[in-house]
C-alpha cells in the first residue's frame, strides 16, 4: 500500500490527469443523476397529486367500467380496514369520483366530478391546497361546487352562477341537479382545470342517493424514494384483507405511463453512467499504460527478484484503486455541495413551463440524492475502473526480466 501510494505520486501531473478524469466523471454522474431523479420524482409526485395517491382502492370492475354501478358499498367499513393496514404517517380517505355532464344554457361539457372531504385532502391531492377565486367550499355544503379556471373560461361561467350537472344514477337513469359555483380554482395545469369539478362528499352522496357508498379510497403514505416498491407492498397487504371484488392498486398500476417513465429514467441513468465511464475509462487506461511502460525495467527487476505475476498485478491495481478512490471522494464531496446548494434554490425551468406542465414536471426542479445512488455511482466507477485496469496491470506482469534488463 505504501509503495503504491508513493508510486502514484512519482509523476504528479499524470496522477492529476487521472484524478481529474475520475473527479469530473463522478461529479457529473452524481449531480446529473440527482437532477434527473429530482425531475422524475417531481413528475411522479405531481401525477400522484392529481388525485391518484399512492394506492387506490376500488371495486374490481371499476377500472373497466368506471360507473356508479361498480361502486364500493359500505365504504366506511372498507375505509376502516384500509386504515388498519397503513404504516405510520399514512392517510386514507373516501371519494366519489365519476364522469358527468355540465350543462349551461349555451354549452354542455363532459367533466370528472370529484366529491370528497375537502379538509382531509390536505397533503393527499391538489384539492387540499388549491388557490381559489371566490369562497372556499364547506364540507356540509350540498348545493355548491368549485370549477377550474380553464373550464370557467370555456363555458363562460363565473362565481355565483348556476349550472346543471347530470350523472348516471344507480338504476342507469340520468340524474340532474343544479349547482352554484362557489369558487374557481387554479392548479396551473390546464387539463385538470378543464375537466375536474370539486364538491363535498355529502353533495354527491345525496344527489346519487348512495348513502354510505363511494367509488374509491385513496391512500397516501410517506415515501422518500419512488423507485422502491413500498406502494406495491401496501397494495398487496390491503388486497390480502379484502374480498376479491375489491382491488387495491399501486400508483404504478393506475398510471403505468409514469411508472414506465421511471423505468426509462433508470435505464437512461445506466446509459449515462456507461457513457461517462467510457470517456473516463480511456483516460485511466491510457495513463496507467503509459506509467506501466515507463516502469517496465522496474517490473523486470521485481520479476527477477522473485515477485510473482500476482504481486505485480496487485501493485498496479492497488495504485489504480487508490487513484479512483481519491477521485471518488473528491467527486462526491463537490457533487454533494452542488446538490446541497441547488436543493435550497432549485433549478428554475419556468422558461419552459408550458412543456413542463404537459408532462407534469414542476417548474422548479430540486435534485434528489439518495445514499443508494451515491453508492451505485461510486461502485460503477470503482468496479469498471478496476476491471479496465486489468489490461495495463496484465501488461506489467508480462514483461520478462531479460527483455527489460537488456534495455538497461
Amino acid at each position: 500500500m505504501k509503495m503504491a501510494w508513493r508510486n502514484i505520486w512519482r509523476n504528479p501531473r499524470r496522477t492529476l490527469v487521472i484524478l481529474t478524469a475520475v473527479f469530473i466523471g463522478v461529479t457529473s454522474m452524481v449531480f446529473l443523476a440527482a437532477l434527473m431523479k429530482g425531475m422524475v420524482f417531481s413528475m411522479v409526485e405531481n401525477s400522484l397529486y392529481n388525485l391518484t395517491g399512492h394506492v387506490l382502492v376500488r371495486d374490481a370492475d371499476f377500472v373497466a367500467d368506471p360507473t356508479i354501478v361498480n361502486r364500493l358499498k359500505g365504504i366506511d367499513k372498507i375505509l376502516t380496514k384500509v386504515k388498519a393496514q397503513l404504516p405510520e404517517g399514512g392517510k386514507a380517505l373516501k371519494r366519489i369520483r365519476l364522469d358527468g355532464f355540465l350543462n349551461t344554457a349555451r354549452d354542455s361539457v363532459g367533466v370528472n366530478v370529484v366529491a370528497t372531504d375537502l379538509d382531509a385532502e390536505k397533503g393527499v391531492s391538489f384539492i387540499g391546497d388549491i388557490q381559489i377565486d371566490g369562497l372556499r367550499l364547506d364540507n356540509s355544503d350540498k348545493g355548491s361546487v368549485l370549477i377550474g379556471y380553464a373550464l370557467s373560461k370555456k363555458i363562460g361561467l363565473s362565481v355565483g352562477k348556476k349550472f346543471v350537472l347530470s350523472m348516471q344514477g344507480t338504476d342507469g337513469e340520468l340524474i340532474a341537479r343544479s349547482f352554484r359555483i362557489k369558487g374557481i380554482f387554479h392548479t396551473g395545469q390546464e387539463e385538470i382545470e378543464k375537466s375536474v369539478i370539486i364538491m363535498p362528499y355529502i353533495a354527491a352522496e345525496k344527489m346519487l342517493s348512495i348513502d354510505g357508498d363511494g367509488t374509491e379510497i385513496v391512500v397516501d403514505i410517506p415515501i422518500s424514494d419512488f423507485e422502491k416498491d413500498d406502494c406495491e407492498t401496501l397494495a398487496n397487504k390491503i388486497n390480502n384483507v379484502m374480498p376479491d371484488s375489491i382491488k387495491a392498486l399501486s400508483w404504478k398500476d393506475v398510471i403505468p405511463a409514469v411508472s414506465a417513465y421511471l423505468t426509462l429514467y433508470r435505464s437512461f441513468m445506466y446509459i449515462w453512467y456507461l457513457i461517462v465511464f467510457i470517456a473516463m475509462g480511456f483516460g485511466i487506461v491510457n495513463t496507467v499504460l503509459m506509467a506501466v511502460y515507463e516502469r517496465m525495467r522496474e517490473f523486470g527487476l521485481l520479476r527477477a527478484m522473485g515477485a510473482r505475476s500476482i504481486d505485480i498485478l496487485r501493485m498496479v491495481l492497488t495504485e489504480v484503486c487508490l487513484l479512483i478512490i481519491i477521485g471518488l471522494v473528491a467527486g462526491n464531496i463537490v457533487a454533494y455541495i452542488m446538490i446541497s446548494v441547488m436543493s435550497s434554490t432549485g433549478l428554475d425551468l419556468s422558461a419552459y413551463s408550458s412543456g413542463m406542465d404537459m408532462i407534469n414536471i414542476s417548474r422548479i426542479i430540486y435534485p434528489v440524492l439518495t445514499f443508494g445512488d451515491l453508492v451505485k455511482a461510486d461502485l460503477t466507477v470503482l468496479a469498471l475502473g478496476m476491471a479496465i485496469s486489468f489490461y495495463p496491470a496484465c501488461k506489467a506482469c508480462s514483461f520478462s526480466p531479460v527483455e527489460t534488463m537488456r534495455n538497461v
Binding site: L302, A304, M305, G306, A307, M405, V408
Partner: protein
C-alpha cells in the same frame, strides 16, 4: 559440492530473420562458496549465462541445475519462487526501486516471502549495518551515491540468505575505488556467510578478486583460471 551445474547450454536469439548464438555448448560446474568471475568482451555471453543460471532466461538447448533443482522441470511460477528463496541478483544499474528507502528496498524481498514487517525491518537493518549503510537506511536511492546504491543492492541480494548471488557487472558504473570497496564487501560476505557469488566483468581489477575466472568468447568457454 557443486551448487551450479550447467550442461551443454546453447542460447540462440532471433533478431529479425537472423539467428544469433549467444551461448554455444557451455558446460561448467560451480561449487558452493566459490567467488567466480565470468570474464570476456562485450557480446561474449556473460550476461546471458548469468540470466540462464539465475532462471530468468531459458536455454535453447542443454540444462541447468542449481542446488539440485532442475530449471527445465519447473514452470514460471515455480522458478519465480525458486529465485525468491535461492537466488540474489545485483544488476549493473536500475537496481533499486526509486520510491522505496534503502531499508525498504532491502526488506522488499523478505516481504515477498511473507515475513512479518518487524522481522523484515530487523533483518534488513542488520544487513545494512553489515554493508556500512545503517545511517542511510531511510534515504531514497536518489539520495545515495552509485557505490552506496550498489551496496544496498548487495544487501538486498543477501538479506534472504540465498544459496547463490549473481551480479552482472556490479562495478561497471562505479569509479575504481568504490568498485574495489564493493568487491571487498562481496568477498567478505562470501567468506562469512559461505554464499556463492558469480559475477560478470571485463575489469582486470575485479577478476583479481575472484577465486576462479571463466573466460568466455563468442558464447564459448575460452579458458578457466583458478586462483
Amino acid at each position: 559440492m557443486s551448487i551450479v551445474q550447467v550442461t551443454n547450454v546453447e542460447k540462440i536469439y532471433t533478431q529479425g530473420k537472423v539467428e544469433v548464438k549467444a551461448l554455444d555448448g557451455i558446460t561448467l560446474s560451480i561449487n558452493k562458496g566459490e567467488f567466480v568471475a565470468l570474464a570476456g568482451p562485450s557480446g561474449s555471453g556473460k550476461t546471458t549465462l548469468l540470466n540462464i543460471i539465475g532462471g530468468i532466461d531459458s536455454p535453447s538447448k542443454g540444462g541447468v541445475t542449481v542446488d539440485e533443482n532442475i530449471y527445465s522441470e519447473m514452470n514460471s511460477f515455480q522458478r519465480a519462487d525458486f529465485r525468491l528463496y535461492n537466488v540474489g541478483f545485483v544488476f549493473q544499474a536500475y537496481n533499486l526501486i526509486p520510491v522505496l528507502s534503502a531499508v525498504e528496498n532491502v526488506e522488499y524481498v523478505l516481504k515477498l516471502r511473507g515475513i512479518k514487517s518487524k522481522e523484515c525491518r530487523e533483518r534488513s537493518m542488520a544487513i545494512l549495518s553489515e554493508v556500512g549503510l545503517e545511517d542511510m537506511a531511510d534515504r531514497r536511492p536518489a539520495d545515495l551515491s552509485g557505490g552506496q546504491q550498489q551496496r544496498v543492492a548487495v544487501a538486498r541480494a543477501i538479506v534472504g540468505e540465498p544459496a547463490l548471488i549473481l551480479a552482472d557487472e556490479p562495478t561497471a558504473n562505479l569509479d575504481s575505488e568504490t568498485g574495489e570497496d564493493l568487491l571487498k564487501l562481496m568477498l567478505k560476505l562470501n567468506k562469512e556467510k559461505n554464499v556463492t557469488f558469480i559475477f560478470s566483468t571485463h575489469d582486470k581489477m575485479v577478476m583479481d578478486y575472484a577465486t576462479r575466472v571463466i573466460y568466455l568468447r563468442d558464447g564459448k568457454i575460452e579458458d578457466t583460471h583458478t586462483i
